[in-house]
């Protein structure tokens, strides 16, 4: 089984275009996301995921030769930042693309699909997981 990161981006300092703006829209949006995650869970697709707070809440930490430097803000002051993601199990890219399409339908956002390579103990954990 392979893993993929499905991520979406949002413009800095604001809600992404097409984001729910009324309470009714928000409720419908959450309903679609909950149904989608249930579907992912049922087939053993869902590994991990969620939404991120804004880039203003980020801190960059770098440790070099014992010195720790902290910087307020994200890595790069970019127009767009990662707003949320899923890590999923999928047989191949076609299967991952099919899930990305579902996520895009549910969230109204474009989704980037990127192969995910588990490392260290995560790799062991992944290898012990039953094949979906």
């Amino acid at each position: 089984m392979n893993q993929y990161l499905l991520s979406t981006h949002a413009a800095a300092g604001g809600m992404p275009e097409g984001a729910p703006s009324t309470p009714e829209e928000m409720q419908a949006f959450m309903g679609r996301v909950i149904a989608l995650e249930a579907e992912m869970d049922a087939g053993g697709t869902f590994v991990f995921g969620g939404a991120l707070h804004g880039p203003d809440a980020a801190t960059v930490v770098s440790s070099e030769a014992g010195d720790v430097v902290m910087t307020d803000g994200p890595f790069v002051e970019a127009k767009e930042h990662i707003a949320g993601f899923y890590v999923i199990n999928a047989a191949d890219l076609d299967a991952a693309l099919a899930w990305a399409r579902k996520v895009s339908d549910a969230t109204n956002h474009p989704i980037e699909v990127r192969p995910f390579r588990a490392t260290g103990r995560v790799a062991d954990h992944v290898n012990q997981m039953p094949e979906a």
């Binding site: 392979n2 191949d92 890219l93 076609d94 991952a96 699909v113 990127r114 192969p115």
Partner: protein, 430 residues
């Protein structure tokens, strides 16, 4: 004789490369391993075939030799041992049957089909799809592919490495898509082949790409006899190719209306017409079949004046309905110019003018219609804009002629160029 022998061996290499790589990708699950193995086998073959002659089933010979050498190589290297252990496939191979299994039909054809769907996967950018298809299926060398796209060999090598990296890392599958996805995915494959053809059409120095595209299309028709769109693409290219001898004169483009139709290749037209008729009987029209049908109507006319324009407009109406792109609308507008006159055509062109502002054929078509409407200054401006955007020397030469004629005040003459688009009716697949 020795030189002749070497040429034979080389042409066999070109022919079997795609088959051998496709089969070995299935066996080893890795394009680079497959390519290296085939290269190794070619080295052995050029040594042995020179003296012993070409074996009756060269593709099978290459696959068997490549497979054995790749397994030897994998056993020797550390990385290879790892791969070797990972791949259940190698187990099957090393204990499997000998070279007799690798006929030209059955598994080998399926392998090629799988590989072309991998190469033309929509997750790869178009120029990577094209490069991979020419390299892996067409058997062109990296240098040949590079020259076809006017980039350096090292730039093309990097492009191919990047594309192969994505296939491997993202696990782009090596299989023919499921029925539900097949029409859309096949359209992507056919578009790549048509793009290869059109690249060969734009530049006489790259004309070999046209033959490569037609070879690939023939292979696709053979591999997927039930897919009328593959047949449609082959017919479209045959009918376009039939007119190539008449298409330029003195390095300038010659419009359809001015072409010497006795120079058209009748054999190709007959084959193309036969395919179009068979497609019509099937009754499952698609974009390539409709474009072929339009070209078939053009090729059917022994003079420009007897062209069945109402039929062509009808076919464009159908094409617009299933493929509503601006370029299709442009070609339909040019046909409207013949049935309803230049005023109606100009109105249709104005509707898409902003979408196609960077497309020289749109401005050339506008120039032609404006000229017919007796507006020489506006026509010259449109032709000039077309010329600024045109990519080929033949197009620029033609446009320069039009501007010159307008300057000489010939616009009232009953000579009505219909814009460059009318000469080919080309429609980008996507």
């Amino acid at each position: 004789m020795a030189a002749q022998g070497a040429t034979d061996v080389e042409s066999v290499f070109r022919e079997v490369y795609g088959q051998a790589v496709a089969t070995l990708v299935r066996v080893f699950g890795d394009i680079t391993v497959a390519e290296d193995a085939v290269q190794d086998a070619f080295v052995v073959a050029s040594d042995r075939w020179g003296s012993g002659g070409i074996p009756p089933n060269p593709a099978g010979w290459i696959v068997t030799t490549a497979r054995n050498r790749a397994i030897d190589g994998l056993r020797r290297s550390a990385r290879g041992r790892e791969l070797y252990e990972q791949l259940g496939a190698v187990e099957r191979v090393s204990s499997g049957a000998d070279g007799d299994d690798w006929g030209e039909d059955g598994p080998v054809s399926d392998d090629q089909l799988r590989l072309i769907f991998t190469c033309c996967h929509p997750a790869l950018r178009t120029e990577h799809q094209v490069a991979l298809t020419l390299r892996l299926l067409g058997g062109l060398s990296v240098d040949e592919v590079a020259r076809s796209f006017l980039v350096s060999e090292s730039a093309m090598a990097k492009r191919l490495v990047r594309a192969k990296y994505k296939i491997k890392a993202a696990k782009i599958p090596y299989r023919v898509p499921a029925d539900a996805d097949l029409p859309e995915r096949l359209q992507s494959v056919l578009s790549v082949v048509y793009l290869i053809y059109n690249t060969g059409l734009d530049d006489p120095e790259r004309s070999s790409l046209r033959h490569e595209a037609m070879r690939l299309a023939r292979a696709l028709v053979e591999l997927m006899p039930d897919e009328p769109e593959a047949a449609g693409l082959l017919a479209l290219m045959l009918l376009s190719e039939s007119r190539v001898p008449a298409r330029t004169a003195h390095e300038a483009l010659v419009l359809l209306r001015d072409q010497d139709r006795t120079m058209w290749d009748r054999a190709m037209i007959e084959e193309g017409h036969g395919i179009v008729r068979a497609c019509i009987r099937r009754g499952q029209p698609g974009p390539f079949q409709l474009q072929a049908a339009i070209q078939a109507v053009h090729c059917d006319a022994h003079t420009f004046d007897v062209t069945d324009w109402p039929q062509i407009v009808l076919l464009y109406d159908h094409l617009v309905a299933i493929m509503p792109t601006s370029v299709v609308t442009l070609n339909r507008a040019i046909a409207i110019g013949e049935t309803e006159g230049p005023g109606a055509a100009l109105t249709a062109l104005d509707a898409i003018a902003s979408d196609l502002d960077n497309y020289h054929l749109m401005h050339a078509a506008r120039g032609a219609m404006l000229r017919r409407l007796g507006r020489p200054q506006a026509a010259a401006a449109a032709y000039q804009r077309a010329s600024d955007l045109a990519a080929t020397q033949a197009d620029r030469q033609f446009l320069a002629q039009q501007i010159e004629e307008l300057a000489e005040g010939n616009s009232a003459v009953q000579h009505r160029p219909d814009g460059l688009a009318g000469s080919q009716g080309r429609t980008p697949g996507r």
